[in-house]
Amino acid sequence: MNPLPLDLQLLNACAALLLLLSFSMLAQRRTVNLVHLLALQGALLVVATLIVAWRTGEPHLYLSALLTLGLKVVGLPLLLHRLIRRMNVYWDTEPVINPSGTMLIGLLVVVFSFGLAQPISALASTATRSTLGIAIAVILLSFLAMITRRKAMSQVVAFLSMENGLFFGAMSATYGMPMVVELGVALDVLVAMLVLGVFFFQIREQFDSLDLYHLETLKERE
């Protein structure tokens, strides 16, 4: 009854887990665990990329998987861990909306993104097209996480998870972007992280905390 070959089943399972991870990130309040979840998300992305690479035999996807492994599973989480340890920011404050509310909004977001993906998936010729909806959902859920978080660290993790969602989307719609672009994007992400690292220290030096509550003074004044 199940017409899908095993590799696609695995890919679908990866996609479903990615979606689940996005929700756990939405609910998670410890920054260390957030970083773990991010690394796990990266690892799932690597697995998914490898499956697609094996299926299509496109060499640049192997390279892309390697890039993801180095950057998003090992590199960035390590960097973030160091930052968390050095700055002692283990907990996020209470989120702006309560967790159950966030979850419900998240569900609506998922419905919305599945609807959004429908016309595109219908046109796609890739075997992986059905996971595009999940990719969009991951992107939008990360967006939601950015809105509901107060700590700089959590926002950054959400930002990176959005980047992961974008990669997953590119893979499911078109088996990845051209190599030049992928390299460029990876470089940008890396530089962004370095800039952020510097930035965190500047913020902390100035406010003794990474709470974005301090960064709310520049409002329009009467």
């Binding site: 679908n12 479903a16 159950s100």
Partner: protein, 316 residues
């Protein structure tokens, strides 16, 4: 109605009613072992029932007839529920009368009578327990419905025996949607049957209890029926779980009497494993504060809906 179907039906109802306390006893025994305590016998629930059935009923002065009727209604609903859940065979004549959604309704009826009876006498604890029970039920029911919907979508019907048939004939494969709903189902099972982390069945600490608080005013045969119904409810939930997530082995028309005979030990094995797993989960988790229960059930609901959405998107 073929003789085989009638036999299946009868066997299911009778064995569920009789075996339910043993399942509960087994789960309690495993839990005691895991906690390094000396375990009570598997037969302990039977002893309790026998003792209670021999005692006189003590009624509060202001108890109404509702209070006296509730145990019979609750127990009756559970028996009816047992009749439509395909635990041993899928050729159930009674199941034509009620599908999965009606089953949720049956369970809700039992909950409603239980809560009404708890409030009937007007003691503080009864009302408190009833309120908490309604809160849990209000959150658990949609989740349970969602779980049933996923299974219904996968097999194209809402009738439980047909779902079990359909799912057992699916090719083996990865079904993320079923995996999500299975986790959701375990969460709902824990909450609905007053297990840790939502409620602790073995405590009478007023501030935390839910189910026990509703039974405080009952005694004698009423209490026996209520306890029996609770055991039967746990048994029923376990069987719903088997029907949805490990549907293999239930007998049907095609497999004949031999299939039915084989299904009995198979069900016993499933129950033994499930009881042990339940004890393990209960030992590993700590009881949540009551106001965290909504979050727990929201997670179940979320997982079930995610399962539904994933199924709609990926078709798996």
């Amino acid at each position: 109605m073929t003789p085989l179907a009638a036999a299946t039906q009868l066997l299911e109802v009778v064995s569920a009613t009789l075996a339910a306390p043993a399942f509960l006893g087994w789960a309690n025994q495993c839990r005691a072992w895991l906690q390094n305590r000396r375990a009570p016998s598997v037969m302990q629930p039977y002893f309790v029932l026998r003792k209670l059935l021999h005692k006189d009923v003590v009624l509060a002065d202001n108890a109404s007839s509702l209070f006296r009727a509730a145990p019979y209604v609750v127990f009756g609903t559970m028996v009816v529920a047992a009749a439509i859940i395909p635990s041993m065979g899928t050729g159930l004549p009674m199941s034509a009368a009620a599908d999965g959604i009606a089953l949720v309704g049956l369970l809700a009826t039992a909950r409603m009578f239980l809560s009404l009876a708890a409030m009937d006498v007007g003691t503080a604890f009864g009302t408190l327990g009833a309120r908490r029970e309604m809160m849990v039920g209000f959150l658990a029911e949609p989740a349970l419905l969602m779980i049933l919907f996923v299974a219904a979508l996968l097999s194209g019907t809402t009738s439980l025996p047909l779902i079990a048939e359909g799912l057992s004939s699916h090719a083996l494969g990865l079904y993320p949607s079923l995996a999500f709903t299975a986790v959701a189902f375990v969460l709902v099972l824990l909450a609905e049957n007053a297990r840790i982390p939502i409620d602790n069945p073995s405590t009478h600490l007023e501030l935390t209890m839910i189910h026990e608080a509703m039974l405080l005013e009952y005694s004698g045969r009423h209490l026996a029926l209520m306890e029996w119904a609770a055991a039967l409810k746990l048994f029923n939930y376990a069987c719903i779980g088997f029907a949805l997530f490990v549907p293999w082995g239930a007998g049907n028309e095609a497999s004949g009497p031999l299939g039915l005979l084989l299904a009995v030990p198979l069900l016993a094995i499933k129950l033994v494993v499930a009881g042990a797993a339940l004890a393990l989960i209960e030992t590993l988790s700590a009881k949540l504060r009551v106001f965290r229960a909504p979050e727990f059930l929201a997670t179940a609901f979320l997982l079930a809906v995610l399962g539904l959405l994933v199924h709609l998107l990926l078709g798996a």
